[in-house]
């Protein structure tokens, strides 16, 4: 902004400050704001020629013009004007123009001309004019005052000659004579100019006579050869003359500055080679420079030496020694000492075969105390190089006289040995480990055609030494473990040398693990353990043993002060286990790792650790290897946890997950199936939901299975079973009803009291549970399709290719009164192979044949057993809704609704509870008695109706209000017995009638029951059958015709006692006949009668 405002109109000359701003802007690459100054070049030129312009600014402008010439010299005309201006300046007397200005003008003009040629063709005349002008300047040898200007003009000419080789070849004779004549300090420039012309003559093979001065110097015309682009214009060099010139040139090196010498040598070497000069000539003249302390001169000698390696044969020792000495000169700048060692290394690489002399010198490579660390590092490189040489030579000659590399290594390392106790990030450590690396990989290069073999390196003494060194280092100074890890990592990450890292880890496994001390400091070693755990070539045995011991140690040492420590160290140890799980085959780990994990989850004092190890154990057991590794590494990918960074808690899976992974799937139920293991007998399902009819908030009291003791008992109205209303007055009836009891009733009451006191009151304690076994499975193909994975499973065998779901959580809910249903977790499940019969997968509701067949075992791995635990408040069928949440292999979270699970009345069937004081032998008798007692109590004429019974826990009470029913089943006795044996065997408490007993005996399924073969069935039954139940009466009437028959063929009677949670009962008395059976049913939960009918039909008639 400011600059733009300051920009004056083009006509006015710029001030000093403005010029400086302009220059600065150009240097910063912002030209555009000065574009308004259109004839900037004119402005520049006029400023340069003004007399009142300050000299320093003129010089600055000249340099500026030079640096940015490309943006000014847009036309050939500009160059012409520039040269004209130069002419004016050069010819001006000295008192008018300062010589520095003159010099700079010449330099800038030449430079601009050369650079402009890149963009556009230069008029040859302009070029000739400039050369001519410069030639006139230099053509005054030994003139006193302008000697420096002449030198600069020589440089300009040299630059032009470099630009167009051969440009001055025509006037070379004049140049030589000038060279011979000039005696001031500018003679170096003359010599260099002449050398450069000679050099170009030889390079371009120009056949000119360098003695010929017949062509006048001025006016100058560029020779033809410049125009030809080809090099071989003239084939025959004038060798004799050139040799004379070379001999002349070689007389004067001592006149030159070191920089001039470098230029000179670089030009003279090709000349000398072309003219086949004896290299010894150069050597005599120039080799002495190696004793100079100027690094440039030393390098010049090296350049020459490398060019004429044969001629200098035998001089290697001297050169290397000198280089070594430069590195030891504490006067020198550090960088030159470093360079000297690099030269020595590079030089020895070149003459690898001849390096023997340096090996003897290698004790001189030992770093000195006050050498800077950079120098020490490079000197250690030299030692490493020597050890490589020694090794190679030893292999070649087979002699043992050479220096021991291990000794070199150890002695060299002394200079940075403090790294063992200094902080691990100190520079000494860096130098030391760098040296380890150099020594270790030795001569094993990274190129593919490297001849050195693995064996060589592994057998090398250095490797053994280093391995011991590292082991001891880690044992002594645990701070260094991360450094060692970094070192191993460096090797591991290298394609060529990863095996070296592996070998080191193997050695650590073998040598470090047995030696570590079992204490809290062990955790320092964990980074290296982690690397060992990662490595598949190392058997995990040792490490697992160590970790087990460590866990034991942690458990044993645990105390009030070590809480955090136990936690952090335990979790880090588990982190290593995790690493192992990720990198090894589970089979390899299984035994020891499971032992470690189970120990941890049993005994570890910290809960989190226990949990985590349980999870790992579960994973180890449930998830097959590859899936396991995938899932573990997935965690790293998503959450960015590297396996080694368990500093706080490795188990940070709780951190926020990317939301895009949450996805609900609507049609989930079409591919994931939760199926009942045992099918329900009743296919059609219906549920009597009386509660819906109830308007009031509270449940009808009679449906309320248990009441509180305080709310005392209420009467049950047996006869009016359909009445759902509660009579409020009765509830508040405070006093116990008066009762008259006979001994029989008392006995019944006693039995019932005792019995009910065993039934848990679900309101205060875990109620009785009903378990429904299911299995979960899912179809691979549908699943993949759903996830968008385009992966078709082709073969059954490819388990790894099958999809899997992880950490599946099934949540259940139901509208039926089943209480809260605990969710169920499945750690891992494989998808079913695709070629399963699709028909069988869609029959989740139908009855699955009990014997699934031969492939059931095979299928087990594709199914997960799920147990739904219901805690019914009421024994009623219902549907359990299933919600699934699971993870796919790619970390995607899948959630959705599955097909509900049907719960039938039969699921509610439980065996009656046996009080604990009843011994096993007495159980059948007890059950039998209980049946009779309940049968009595549920009878219509029961005298227990008003009685209440305390439940377990003493808070709740229950009353019995019985109902009865009958059902005639037209089934033959044999099939009835079979069906009973199959489905109701558990609940049969008594069998009477000889033929039936025999049949049961034969079946051998119904056992431990009371067999009443003595008493006649009919009487025993009819005795009880005295109730006013009409239905029964009608039934009897209806069956009148058949009675005589059936009686005759009455085989016996089953007594079945079924407990319905939470506290109800279902009692069957089945009078088995040959062709039909009469089932008398009593229950204290009348709604269940509704389902029983269907059930019995399904059981016996289908």
């Amino acid at each position: 902004m400011a600059e733009k405002a300051a920009a004056p109109p083009p006509s006015k000359p710029l001030t000093t400050q403005e010029w400086e701003t302009l220059i600065e802007d150009f240097q910063n690459g912002v030209h555009h704001k000065w574009n308004s100054l259109d004839p900037l070049f004119d402005l520049l030129l006029s400023s340069l020629l003004r007399k009142d312009f300050p000299l320093f600014l003129k010089l600055q402008l000249l340099v500026f013009l030079d640096e940015f010439s490309l943006s000014f010299f847009t036309s050939h005309h500009h160059l012409l004007r520039l040269v004209d201006a130069l002419k004016a300046v050069v010819h001006a007397p000295l008192d008018v123009v300062a010589s520095t200005y003159k010099d700079q003008f010449m330099v800038s003009a030449s430079s601009i001309l050369i650079c402009a040629s890149e963009k556009k063709v230069i008029d040859p005349q302009t070029e000739n004019n400039l050369v001519e002008l410069l030639l006139t300047v230099i053509n005054r040898p030994n003139f006193g005052s302008d000697r420096h200007t002449r030198g600069v003009a020589c440089e300009c000419l040299r630059e032009l000659e470099r630009w167009k080789p051969g440009l001055l070849s025509d006037v070379v004779g004049h140049l030589w004579s000038l060279c011979q004549n000039e005696r001031t300090h500018a003679s170096q420039c003359y010599l260099l100019l002449f050398t450069s012309v000679i050099h170009n003559i030889i390079v371009r093979k120009l056949s000119v006579s360098i003695l010929n001065t017949s062509v006048p110097m001025v006016p100058f015309n560029a020779p033809n050869c410049v125009m030809d682009s080809g090099s071989g214009s003239g084939s025959d060099l004038n060798v004799k003359e050139l040799r004379r010139a070379l001999a002349f040139l070689l007389e004067w090196p001592q006149l030159m500055t070191p920089c001039g010498m470098m230029e000179f040598v670089y030009m003279i070497i090709p000349v000398a080679m072309a003219l086949e000069l004896q290299p010894s000539m150069l050597k005599v003249q120039l080799f002495g420079m190696i004793h100079s302390f100027d690094p440039v001169l030393c390098h010049v000698v090296l350049v020459m030496y490398l060019r004429f390696l044969e001629a200098f044969d035998g001089q290697e020792g001297q050169v290397s020694r000198r280089l070594l000495l430069i590195s030891r000169e504490s006067h020198n700048y550090l960088v030159f000492r470093l360079l000297a060692i690099h030269w020595l290394l590079g030089f020895n690489e070149l003459i690898f075969e001849k390096t023997k002399p340096t090996i003897e010198l290698c004790s001189a490579f030992y770093p000195a105390l006050f050498d800077p660390l950079a120098l020490k590092a490079l000197k250690l490189d030299l030692l490493a190089f020597s050890s490589v040489c020694a090794h190679v030579l030893r292999l070649k000659s087979g002699s043992d006289e050479l220096i021991d590399p291990v000794k070199l290594f150890e002695n060299g390392l002394v200079c940075v040995s403090s790294f063992k106790w200094l902080p691990p990030m100190c520079t000494e450590t860096a130098v030391a480990f760098r040296t380890f690396h150099k020594f270790l990989i030795g001569s094993s290069s990274h190129s593919d055609n490297d001849p050195s073999t693995t064996r060589n390196l592994l057998d090398s003494a250095i490797f053994r030494t280093l391995q011991d060194l590292l082991v001891n280092m880690m044992l002594e100074s645990r701070r260094l473990v991360p450094v060692v890890v970094a070192f191993v990592d460096r090797l591991l990450s290298c394609q060529k040398h990863s095996w070296l890292g592996e070998c080191l880890l193997q050695k650590f496994d073998a040598h470090l693990l047995p030696k570590v001390k079992m204490d809290y400091n062990l955790v320092y070693c964990f980074p290296i353990f982690d690397r060992i755990a990662e490595n598949q070539t190392i058997p995990p045995r040792g490490l697992l043993e160590l970790l087990t011991n460590f866990m034991i140690f942690l458990v044993e040492k645990h105390g009030p002060d070590t809480g955090m420590k136990s936690w952090s160290q335990g979790s880090r140890a588990l982190g290593i286990c995790r690493t192992m799980l990720m990198h090894h085959h589970s089979s390899r780990l299984f035994l020891r790792l499971s032992r470690l994990l189970s120990f941890t989850c049993l005994y570890f004092p910290d809960l989190e650790i226990r949990d985590n190890s349980r999870i790992y154990l579960r994973m180890l057991v449930c998830i097959p290897g590859k899936k396991l590794r995938d899932i573990l590494s997935l965690g790293n990918m998503i959450l960015g946890i590297s396996p080694s960074s368990h500093s706080t808690s490795f188990f940070s899976v709780q951190s926020p997950r990317p939301s895009k992974n949450f996805k609900s799937f609507k049609n989930l139920s079409s591919c994931i199936h939760l199926e009942r293991l045992g099918p329900l007998l009743v296919k059609q399902f219906w549920s009597l939901s009386l509660s819906n009819l109830v308007v009031s908030n509270t449940k009808p009291a009679y449906l309320e299975s248990i009441r509180d003791l305080k709310a005392t008992v209420e009467e049950k109205d047996f006869s009016d079973s359909s009445n759902t209303e509660i009579i409020p007055g009765r509830i508040n009836q405070p006093q116990e009803p008066l009762r008259v009891m006979d001994s029989k009733v008392a006995e019944i009451l006693n039995t019932l009291r005792k019995y009910f006191s065993c039934i848990p009151d679900f309101r205060y304690m875990p109620g009785l549970k009903v378990r429904i076994s299911c299995s979960l499975r899912f179809e691979s193909n549908t699943f993949n399709r759903m996830l968008g994975l385009d992966k078709t499973v082709t073969s059954l065998e490819e388990i790894d290719a099958l999809p899997a779901i992880y950490a599946t959580v099934l949540k259940f809910s139901s509208s039926a009164p089943y209480g809260s249903i605990p969710s169920y977790c499945i750690p891992f499940l494989l998808g079913e192979p695709y070629n399963k019969d699709p028909a069988s997968q869609n029959v989740s509701l139908s009855i699955v044949p009990v014997g699934v067949g031969n492939d059931s075992r095979e299928e087990e791995k594709y199914r997960a057993a799920v147990v739904i635990d219901l805690e019914p408040r009421e024994p009623t069928p219902g549907i359990v809704d299933v919600h699934i949440e699971t993870n796919a292999v790619n970390g995607q979270i899948i959630q959705g609704q599955l097909q509900g699970v049907t719960v039938g009345i039969e699921d509610m069937f439980l065996k009656a509870i046996v009080p604990s004081d009843i011994s096993e032998d007495e159980t059948p008798r007890y059950n039998f008695d209980l049946f009779n007692t309940l049968w009595e109590a549920c009878g219509s004429s029961s005298s227990t109706g008003r009685e209440t019974f305390q439940l377990k826990g003493g808070k709740g009470i229950a009353a019995i209000s019985g109902t009865q029913s009958v059902k005639l089943l037209d089934v033959p006795a044999t099939s009835l017995i079979q069906a009973t044996e199959r489905h109701l065997a558990r609940f049969v408490v008594g069998v009477s009638g000889e033929p039936l007993i025999d049949a049961v005996w034969q079946g051998g399924i119904i056992q431990n029951i009371i067999l009443e073969d003595a008493s006649p069935v009919a009487t025993s039954v009819t005795n009880h059958d005295t109730g006013p139940l009409r239905l029964t009466y009608n039934d009897e009437e209806c069956e009148n015709g058949a009675i005589s028959n059936s009686r005759k063929r009455n085989l016996g009677c089953f007594l079945v006692l079924i407990f319905l949670p939470p506290r109800f009962h279902l009692l069957f008395q089945m009078e088995v006949g040959d062709v039909s059976t009469l089932v008398r049913i009593r229950t204290d939960h009348w709604p269940s009668l509704a389902y029983i009918d269907d059930y019995l039909e399904a059981l016996y008639l289908s």
Partner: protein, 701 residues
């Protein structure tokens, strides 16, 4: 490529990483472009030079990536592929690569080799011209994904640098520019007995020509031309710029660059010549010598009263351990400064004597010198002196006279904040007149502890304390110690302020790559009320910052005392120039003056009771092996005798097993004569007789 060294561009950045000066050489740049175009495979190389802002950005970017302007130098765990430290070579702290436009770190954007020289507040970047293939080779080096170069097998940096004299030249340029920026254009000191010292080239001109000129360059208090080792030991970083640098003299820079390398190719980097030419110019009366060519490095000829002055300046580096298992090391680095006020272009020659006695190791000369007849004990030096003061020769030697200060320093921490110390020193033991110790000061630095009080009186001298050091002036200037030796002791206790953990900022710690696992669990275990020196050391060392690669070791980790002194009268190495044997051709009568000055460099007394850094020496325990090694060493070198600094301790064992040794090498005859033992007897109370009894070996074939 025909050019040895050409510079594409020079940039100077200030401490705010802004470019304050730049110079580009379009002619060289054109050659670079031509070279790139010539090679079709690599035409994608970075073809144009960056603007100031781009360069500054790239420089800053590298600084962030590499932790400092110079960089790590060694591959660390946080080195990134493609960066300089990935190459894993300390020299990448000096030869750096910049990625211009960092978005795409591609070879296309790589600017290499940039010579980085830090001087004062400024960073000087010099970009020499290399061949495109060199750049490609380096890019390959820093992009290779493997674990690092194998020595001698892979194409490493070494062979690249050997092939690149332009890098060497660019370093010379960078250093010359650095000197100009900071005004360190002082010529080497030449001491004259009468006047304090003689000025530089300019004086010799003004003295004769009579032109008044610009102000004399300011002499630093201790003139020393040796660039290294002037830094105080323990100074934290070399990267840290010195405070108080003067503003950039851009005019001087422009003049220097334009004159020394008009087209980017350096011709002469001698700034005193350049500035003299600029200031004085030449007149028609300045005639060149009639029958000789005037060297380029001597633009003017001297006129006036003729004389030659030599000053031998030696610096003693010593590490005194006073331990049986670690031998002391003493080395002398010396130089002969010269000023020859002679008319015309004469040659001066003199024989250098006493080479063997001095165990002279390194001899390197000024480019003007020619070395003839390199004998074992004698060396003739002939040189054609330039104008003004110059360093004629440099050498490394051992201390023939024995250490000027010998003894021990013990410091023991009696509690965490209190240390008891004891000095027992011998000064000038065996030093005869005219050797004169002008001053001698012992400093105990405690850079990481604050001194509360000091208790104790030395037998000689005065003591003063500053916050972080104790200074004991034994000999003060004005009361020099001539021709006699003294023994001094200084027992005392020093009390420190309680130790506070100086936590490093997390950034600097992590920048170093390896994050040490600092489990706080373990703190409790170490805590014990007992005074445990090991423990204290450990505690203190825990947060020691890493030193730069330019330091020899982590100074702050050790307890030591540093001795500084100055001895005049004779050289301690035994090297001498005999004024009588100096000859001038063509012969003129010119008085020859000769002086010496010995100063201390790193002269360290390591705490005998603490840790100390040391280097490998050939141990005395397995004598025979080492003796063999030693003889291998000698027999390999026929003409030059390479002696390891540690050989003094070996020589004892050689002496005792002389016969054996001679038998093994029958072609060579060795003589041994004890020399030092009479000069430096062991200190009483310390059992060091074996160790200090050193022998010198003279070798005759």
């Amino acid at each position: 490529m025909s050019s040895g060294c050409s510079i594409r561009a020079i940039w100077i950045l200030n401490n705010l990483d802004a470019v304050v000066f730049s110079r580009k050489f379009p002619v060289v740049e054109k050659r670079w472009r031509a070279a790139c175009n010539a090679d079709n495979d690599i035409d994608q190389l970075f073809a144009s030079l960056p603007t100031h802002s781009d360069l500054a950005d790239a420089f800053l970017d590298r600084k962030h990536r590499e932790g400092s302007a110079r960089g790590f130098g060694i591959r660390k765990s946080n080195s990134t592929l493609g960066s300089d430290s990935w190459v894993d070579d300390p020299i990448t702290r000096h030869i750096v690569g910049l990625f211009i436009n960092k978005e795409e770190e591609d070879i296309k954007n790589l600017l290499w080799p940039l010579i980085l020289h830090t001087k004062g507040l400024y960073s000087i970047l010099v970009l020499p011209l290399v061949e495109p293939r060199h750049l490609v080779a380096y890019a390959r080096l820093c992009k290779r994904s493997d674990c690092g170069t194998a020595l001698g097998m892979d194409d490493g940096l070494s062979s690249l640098l050997l092939d690149l004299p332009s890098v060497t030249g660019a370093f010379m340029v960078a250093h010359a520019i650095g000197d100009i920026i900071t005004g360190d254009t002082v010529e080497p000191e030449v001491i004259v007995s009468a006047a304090p010292s003689v000025g530089g080239l300019f004086d010799s001109l003004t003295g004769s020509i009579g032109i008044s000129s610009r102000a004399k360059p300011v002499n630093p208090p201790v003139a020393s031309s040796s660039p290294s080792s002037t830094a105080v030991p323990g100074s934290v970083t070399a990267d840290a710029p010195k405070i108080g640098s003067r503003p950039l003299d851009k005019d001087a820079l422009r003049t220097f660059i334009s004159s020394s390398m008009p087209f980017g190719t350096p011709l002469d980097l001698n700034y005193s010549n350049i500035f003299t030419i600029k200031a004085n110019g030449f007149s028609a009366t300045d005639l060149p010598p009639p029958d000789q060519k005037q060297p380029a490095w001597k633009p003017y000829l001297y006129k006036g009263k003729q004389r030659i002055m030599f000053t031998i300046h030696e610096t003693i580096h010593a590490a005194l351990y006073d331990r049986d298992e670690i031998p002391d090391t003493i080395s002398v680095s010396g130089q002969i400064n010269c000023r020859a006020e002679l008319e015309g272009l004469p040659d001066v020659s003199f024989p250098l004597a006493g080479l063997n006695a001095a165990n002279l190791e390194v001899l390197s000369y000024h480019p003007c010198a020619q070395v003839s007849d390199q004998g074992l004990d004698k060396q003739g030096v002939m040189f054609s002196p330039p104008l003004g003061n110059f360093v004629l020769m440099r050498y490394q030697a051992t201390c023939a006279l024995g250490p000027p200060i010998n003894g021990f320093y013990q410091l023991s921490m009696v509690s965490e904040d209190k240390g008891a110390f004891l000095f027992k020193l011998h000064l000038m033991e065996g030093y005869k007149s005219p050797l004169n110790m002008e001053f001698c000061t012992v400093t105990m630095p405690f850079p990481r502890r604050r001194i509360l009080s000091l208790d104790g009186t030395p037998s000689v001298g005065t003591v003063s304390t500053s916050e972080h050091s104790v200074e004991w002036k034994i000999v003060t200037s004005g009361r020099g110690l001539t021709g006699r030796s003294i023994e001094v002791t200084f027992p005392g206790t020093v009390k420190f302020a309680p130790w506070q953990n100086q936590r490093l900022s997390s950034s600097s710690r992590s920048s170093f790559g390896i994050n040490a696992d600092e489990d706080s669990d373990n703190e409790a275990e170490n805590a014990s009320n007992m005074v445990n020196e090991e423990h204290l050391m450990e505690k203190m060392n825990k947060d020691l910052p890493p030193v730069d690669l330019e330091e020899p070791f982590c100074w702050q980790a050790y307890n030591y005392a540093k001795v500084s002194f100055k001895v005049v009268g004779a050289s301690v190495s035994g090297i001498a120039v005999d004024p009588k044997s100096v000859s001038i051709y063509p012969a003129v009568k010119a008085p020859i003056e000769f002086s010496t000055q010995v100063t201390s460099g790193d002269y360290i007394l390591w705490n005998t009771l603490g840790k100390c850094p040391h280097v490998a020496t050939i141990k005395r325990s397995n004598r025979e092996d080492n003796a063999d090694e030693f003889f291998n060493l000698i027999s390999a070198d026929e003409d030059l005798f390479i002696i390891h600094p540690s050989i003094r301790s070996l020589s004892t064992s050689l002496g005792t097993e002389k016969n054996k040794a001679v038998k093994k090498n029958e072609n060579t005859f060795y003589t041994f004569h004890p020399l030092i033992s009479s000069i430096s007897p062991p200190i009483k109370g310390s059992n060091k007789i074996d160790q200090n009894t050193s022998l010198f070996i003279s070798l005759t074939t």
